[in-house]
């Protein structure tokens, strides 16, 4: 497989994952808003911190109003992590390796792009937002399903698997870290203030990651700190848990040449495996999440060094992103 193509596949999967994760996060947030008393202010600034875009935002906007934040996260091309920018980049990348994917996958990515470019405006409006973003999630999932059902598990597939899971693990630690540390806006909801249930704080974290239903089903109805952390960081079966993502990365690396990425991965697996989640729920979560994010960034660099170097002797990777 050409190094350039491998790199484009890897990034295409990351872009699409990021678009979907952002759409999910926004949907969860919008739902939470409805629990708030009318007239209450909402900490949009904090939502930007969750995705690590607060600095980038303030380069272009003064005040973090709902319309400004939504526009920035959803459609602003100056934000390389906006949903529209991610979908567009994914489509541009897909163009360059149409020959390695099943033919329909280009068409579906292209349709996702066409839908996104014509409908995203509506997502700025709260009334249509849920519907449009859900449709984007659905179309992105269709692409994943199509590839899963029609593509050989060749090297190209493994690079997409790598990209998707590194991105997803990163997003999980980010939401977990920041949302708890900065009192995510959801936690100020009327119910939380009136009932003062710690449960609700953790439940909001689960919701932001679309994890609440599986948590209830497999762990329990009460969202206790250490259980939520163990679920989101170390559960083997939940596809957005860090541990699950790391295993997916491991399976992908098994099919690819080179030993160094696997060595780095092992360190991360040990970390989530041996963590004391009771203690983490009390303190040290921020440092822990930071550590995992740094290791994911390191793994990203090692993957680039191992597989993509031939494509760009100087430039290491597509460095548009601030997240990793």
């Amino acid at each position: 497989m050409l190094a350039r193509v491998a790199e484009n596949l890897y990034w295409m999967a990351r872009y699409l994952e990021r678009a979907e994760d952002t759409a999910r996060l926004i949907n969860a947030t919008t739902m939470m808003l409805m629990d708030m008393p009318r007239g209450a202010s909402f900490g949009w600034e904090d939502l930007l911190k969750v995705v690590g875009l607060d600095e980038a935002f303030h380069k272009h906007y003064d005040e973090a109003s709902e319309s400004a934040v939504m526009s920035f996260l959803i459609q602003d091309e100056r934000n390389p992590s906006s949903i529209f920018a991610c979908v567009r980049m994914a489509r541009e990348n897909t163009r360059t390796f149409r020959e390695v994917l099943p033919r329909e996958s280009w068409e579906w990515v292209n349709e996702l792009y066409l839908y996104t470019s014509t409908h995203l405006n509506h997502a700025l409006d709260r009334r249509k937002r849920f519907e449009v973003l859900t449709e984007i999630i659905r179309r992105r999932q269709a692409v994943v399903g199509l590839l899963s059902g029609t593509m050989s598990r060749d090297e190209g597939f493994q690079f997409m698997r790598l990209g998707r899971n590194i991105e997803r693990a990163d997003m999980t630690t980010r939401v977990l870290d920041v949302s708890y540390a900065i009192n995510l806006p959801y936690q100020n909801s009327r119910a939380a203030l009136e009932l003062n249930l710690p449960d609700l704080i953790w439940m909001s974290v689960l919701q932001a990651l679309s994890a609440h239903q599986m948590y209830r089903r497999h762990v329990g109805v009460h969202a206790r700190g250490h259980k939520v952390l163990a679920f989101l960081l170390n559960d083997l079966q939940f596809p957005r848990s860090v541990r699950h993502c790391l295993h997916e990365i491991q399976f992908a690396l098994d099919e690819l040449p080179g030993a160094e990425p696997m060595r780095r991965l092992q360190g991360m697996l040990n970390l989530v495996d041996r963590a004391d989640y009771h203690a983490l729920a009390e303190n040290g979560l921020h440092e822990f999440c930071d550590d995992i994010q740094a290791r994911l960034a390191d793994l990203n660099a090692v993957i680039a060094q191992t597989y993509f170097r031939a494509a760009h002797p100087q430039k290491m990777t597509q460095s548009l992103f601030s997240l990793v």
């Binding site: 497989m1 050409l2 190094a3 193509v5 541009e92 163009r95 390796f97 149409r98 292209n110 040449p257």
Partner: protein, 482 residues
């Protein structure tokens, strides 16, 4: 709007589907009946479905403008063009004959130049050729074949004669649209295919693969084949990626390749370097090897010519093949066929006046308002003068161009290109068409079943190039109606 054979406004020239108002040609009856039966809103609905399918499939070409590069949907017309198989068989034989002679010519030019020594081809035409490559002299590509993929443009004049308009031997494009057009027609008009035996076109990519594989220097293993593209911003990028995908070949850019000291070509892969055997290059000669041609090119790979001359890589089309893709050289193809093959040309050339000859030039200068003047080396329909549609100012400008550089210009009578019924803004009207079949040659010879019918969508226009408002149609070679 229905195709109503009775009211269809024939333009007086040759129409490919109708012989006379209300009278379909042999083979076209079923098609005319079918469209006549179809309600107008139904036809419009299908046309819209075609447009949507094209957008979704991303079948696009890129238009360059100051406002940026725009991806345009490929304009497709739903009414197919029909050619009877008996007529097609003759055309196919003529195309094979022509490409064989052209390849003999190119090989001769880069070796003994016997055709010049024997006085059949003028030495001064070669001396002034922009596409002759000194670096290719003495090279020996497999089977003595240089131009492996040829897109020959055919036109039909008012009396029904099919002429060869030009031979595209450099990097002809359009074949992917031919294949896509058929896919679209099958999706949108499945019931039409039940009425007709249409020869399938989709074995082209397998034929292309076999043709390329036969160029591999390593005959004992499955060859590594790559399509070399200038990149995603090239207007034909869609086709490059399409062909690579259909052949299961790599799609590479110059920066993906490296030529080592062993004069072999390698691809940069995730595991290091992998040897490459055959390159289907869609990059012009000038850009393929900065060691030999333009030093500022980053579209090719340094050392490619070394590897090719050493016989370590197959390149299609071979560097230097463009020497025969020249509108002045074109005028000599009938003589080449006689000289190399000892046969009469099956397909006639359009009569051509070469401005390098005094008598021809005088005639051209005196008749600029009637002739089509073409530069020898342009493609894409650029730099032409269409006499009957030109202003005196334009004619004066061309007179000057011709006097300054007579070798670079030739002229032909303005043909009344044939027409095919075409859906235009809700009405069916005649529009001018040409036809570009694709011919392959390495170990064997192959011709596509039909080719790409290009249609000038503007009323009265003779320019079919997609960059200038042209569209396309599906082309059917039919054995007869059911």
């Amino acid at each position: 709007m229905k195709i109503d054979c009775g009211s269809y406004p024939l333009m007086g020239g040759f129409d490919e589907l109708l012989e006379a108002p209300g009278k379909p040609r042999k083979g076209a009856e079923g098609l005319c009946d079918y469209f006549a039966e179809m309600a107008s809103d139904e036809l419009e609905a299908r046309h819209r479905a075609v447009d949507a399918a094209i957008m979704a499939a991303g079948i696009t070409f890129t238009v360059y403008s100051e406002a940026g590069n725009i991806d345009r949907a490929w304009p497709f017309d739903v009414v197919p063009r029909i050619i009877e198989k008996a007529e097609w068989d003759r055309i196919e034989a003529g195309l094979k004959q022509r490409l064989q002679a052209l390849n003999r010519f190119i090989d001769d030019i880069y070796h003994d130049q016997a055709i010049i020594k024997d006085g059949v081809f003028p030495a001064e035409v070669l001396a002034d050729s922009k596409n002759f490559r000194e670096a290719c002299v003495g090279a020996n590509p497999p089977y003595g074949v240089w131009a492996h993929i040829c897109g020959t443009d055919l036109v039909r004049d008012g009396d029904g004669t099919v002429y060869v308009l030009e031979d595209n031997l450099r990097v002809p494009s359009g074949v992917s649209y031919m294949l896509e057009n058929r896919q679209l027609m099958k999706k949108l008009f499945p019931e039409l295919f039940a009425r007709y035996d249409v020869l399938p076109v989709d074995d082209y990519t397998a034929q292309l693969y076999d043709m390329l594989a036969a160029l591999s220097p390593r005959t004992d293993e499955r060859p590594e084949i790559a399509v070399l593209t200038p990149g995603v911003y090239n207007s034909a990028y869609f086709e490059h990626s399409y062909l690579a995908q259909q052949m299961g070949a790599h799609l590479v850019e110059g920066s993906d390749l490296v030529v080592l000291d062993d004069d072999c070509v390698y691809m940069k892969t995730i595991e290091g370097l992998t040897r490459l055997d055959v390159i289907y290059r869609r990059v012009d000669d000038d850009f393929i090897d900065p060691e030999v041609f333009r030093a500022d090119s980053s579209l090719g790979a340094p050392g490619l010519m070394r590897a090719w001359k050493a016989g370590n890589i197959g390149i299609a089309n071979a560097p230097g093949s463009g020497v025969a893709d020249d509108k002045v050289v074109y005028a000599y193809v009938p003589q080449m066929i006689e000289y190399y093959l000892g046969e009469k040309a099956i397909l006639p050339n359009v009569p051509s006046y070469l401005c390098m000859f005094d008598a021809d030039r005088d005639y051209v200068l005196a008749n600029l308002d009637k002739l089509v003047v073409k530069p020898a080396n342009e493609s894409g329909g650029y730099g032409m003068l269409v006499g009957p549609k030109s202003t005196p100012d334009e004619q004066a400008k061309f007179a000057e161009l011709i006097r300054d550089n007579p070798r670079n210009y030739m002229a032909q009578p303005t043909l009344s290109l044939s027409t095919v019924p075409t859906l235009c803004d809700g009405a069916i009207e005649p529009r001018h068409v040409d036809l570009r079949p694709f011919i392959l040659q390495s170990k064997g010879l192959y011709v596509t079943r039909g080719g790409l019918t290009r249609v000038a969508l503007r009323r009265g226009s003779l320019v079919v190039n997609s960059s200038q408002g042209g569209g396309s149609k599906d082309t059917w070679i039919v054995g007869g109606t059911i």
